[in-house]
């Protein structure tokens, strides 16, 4: 498989606070890769650096052979990276349909098939397309955030905590959908707290601790690693 995203020696800091240090990893085409780790470990910052919302201090981000770490976010979206950010960040006073349209902002016109596909993935969104997004329930908002990100027909989808605040049943639905999205050919890099479930369907994972990658491997390796459990529940 060919490497779609390569990150080398990435360093990010907010003011004097170093958030990421020497992060190196890659994502291969067609994979689901999960970043796991406790709060404050730097998972979200990694995604923000890839989509251009924060400028790295050092290091390279290469997407499909092109260096993107100096580009504006809107240019990165055009290259085919879509980011469903932490906390969903949907446009609450716009309708569901308008949110989806914004997802397709970089497209010349809205692809009916993509829309249809997203409505198939999340039938709830079709039912509520005229409703204001802010009035949706938490799960529906998450669906919208993912659906919106898919509207730009990305090659690489960045998902930040898609199960945050969702009930187990809803989490399952979201995760099933993530699998479907991958099966349709979109590469996925996700941050997930629900590590066990995520690793179940992911190909590979990286464990972050305080801005550094401390462990990496295939899902199976990580799932059986004591270190992952420790990352959350601590050493006994």
């Amino acid at each position: 498989m060919e490497t779609i995203l390569q990150i080398t020696d990435l360093e990010v800091s907010y003011g004097s606070v170093v958030a990421l240090k020497d992060i190196t990893f890659n994502v291969k085409s067609g994979e689901i890769v999960v970043l796991v780790g406790a709060n404050g470990a730097g998972k979200t910052t990694t995604l923000r650096a890839i989509s251009g919302l924060v400028k790295p201090k050092k290091g390279e981000i290469i997407f499909e052979g092109k260096r993107i770490d100096h580009l504006h976010p809107h240019k990165i979206v055009r290259l085919g990276i879509s980011h469903a950010p932490e906390g969903r960040r949907i446009f609450g006073t716009l309708t569901v349909y308008e949110n989806l349209m914004l997802g397709a902002y970089t497209q010349k016109q809205i692809d009916k098939n993509t829309l249809e596909w997203i409505y198939n993935l999340f039938p709830r969104l079709k039912e509520r397309s005229k409703q204001l997004a802010g009035t949706l329930s938490g799960g529906e908002q998450q669906m919208l955030a993912v659906g919106r990100a898919l509207m730009s027909k990305p090659k690489l989808l960045l998902l930040d905590e898609p199960s945050l605040g969702l009930s187990p049943a809803l989490t399952k639905i979201i995760f099933d959908t993530v699998k479907q999205i991958r099966n349709s050919g979109v590469t996925i890099l996700m941050v997930e707290q629900n590590a066990k479930a995520a690793l179940k369907f992911a190909n590979r994972g990286y464990v972050l601790e305080v801005g550094k990658i401390v462990l990496s491997g295939t899902s199976e390796e990580l799932l059986s690693s004591q270190k992952v459990v420790e990352a959350y529940l601590g050493r006994k």
């Binding site: 809107h74 980011h83 006073t93 716009l94 914004l102």
Partner: protein, 300 residues
């Protein structure tokens, strides 16, 4: 009753001008959280530029209609461009600075434009020719309405409907609304937020320039400091409607126009400004974010 209706008619005419100008304040505030104190002076500048273009057009022996069309197009284009340049020079360098620094920059821009007008066109008042619009008057059961008022009201409403459609039905319009809600999320949609800010200044200045030309056509008197009065009123209108909210600005403008005439006509002419502001303060105390504004809770 006739008197009351007459007041309402007059209030709507001035209110629609306030509304056009208020939209410029509200759009800039919505995305940049900046009170653009120079907007009112841009409106005044538009009236002066319009008058100059009109006189040139008459000089070229164009018919009234063509002269007016030329005036509107040239002025609107010039002022929109001016708005874009203003943003680039006076506001963009301050986007990461403390908010009040940008406010002072806006006050400086206001002072510079106002006195720039005086340097170019002189301190004397300038007067729009009275014969550009046919001034027919209709008496409808005691209420006098003239054609200029109707033209302004109609054109304003058409412009506002067009803006409403643009903002709500087009891609760029939706992008503008999205940028006002959450700039980072907008960037992630592939929206060039810098481009949106430029668009907002162009659009706000465009509507302001139409407002300025209407002032010129309706009242016909221009003086270099007039921007302050219209700017302040339009700004109040934007606040009443809920600053950042475009339909709010339209509503606020119309309401303020009507408040103004009703207070001046029925309560007290000499206290009209004070009462308008007292009303504004009461609205703010009761509904701190204006009539259509939304309360945004801070996350702790």
């Amino acid at each position: 009753m006739e008197i009351f209706l007459q007041q309402i008619v007059n209030g709507l005419a001035i209110g629609s001008i306030y509304a056009l100008v208020a939209i410029g304040y509200t759009m800039v505030y919505g995305v940049m959280k900046l009170i653009n104190f120079a907007h009112g002076d841009l409106v005044a500048l538009a009236a002066y530029v319009g008058l100059t273009v009109l006189m040139q057009a008459f000089g070229m022996h164009l018919s009234n209609l063509w002269a007016v069309i030329l005036m509107f197009t040239v002025t609107a284009m010039f002022i929109s461009l001016f708005g874009i340049i203003l943003e680039r020079l006076a506001y963009r360098p301050l986007r990461k600075a403390p908010r009040l620094s940008a406010v002072v920059s806006a006050l400086g821009a206001s002072l510079a434009i106002e006195n720039g007008i005086m340097l170019i066109w002189g301190p004397n008042i300038k007067v729009f020719p009275s014969n550009i619009f046919p001034s027919t008057r209709w008496h409808i059961s005691g209420v006098v309405i003239n054609s200029t008022q109707i033209a302004i009201l109609l054109l304003s409403i058409i412009l506002m409907i067009a803006l409403y459609i643009f903002i709500n039905r087009t891609k760029i319009g939706t992008a503008i609304r999205a940028s006002a809600i959450d700039q980072d999320a907008a960037k992630l949609m592939g929206i060039n937020v810098n481009g949106i800010i430029i668009a907002i200044f162009a659009l706000g200045s465009f509507l302001g320039s139409i407002g300025g030309l209407f002032i010129g056509i309706y009242y016909r008197e221009l003086y270099f400091q007039m921007g302050w009065i219209y700017g302040l009123n339009a700004f109040i209108a934007a606040i009443i409607g809920g600053i950042g909210n475009i339909p709010g600005a339209m509503l606020g403008g119309m309401l303020l126009g009507i408040f103004n005439v009703l207070i001046a006509g029925y309560v007290s002419n000499t206290w009209s400004e004070a009462l308008t502001f007292a009303l504004l303060i009461i609205i703010l105390i009761i509904k701190p974010t204006g009539i259509l504004g939304e309360r945004v809770a801070e996350k702790v």
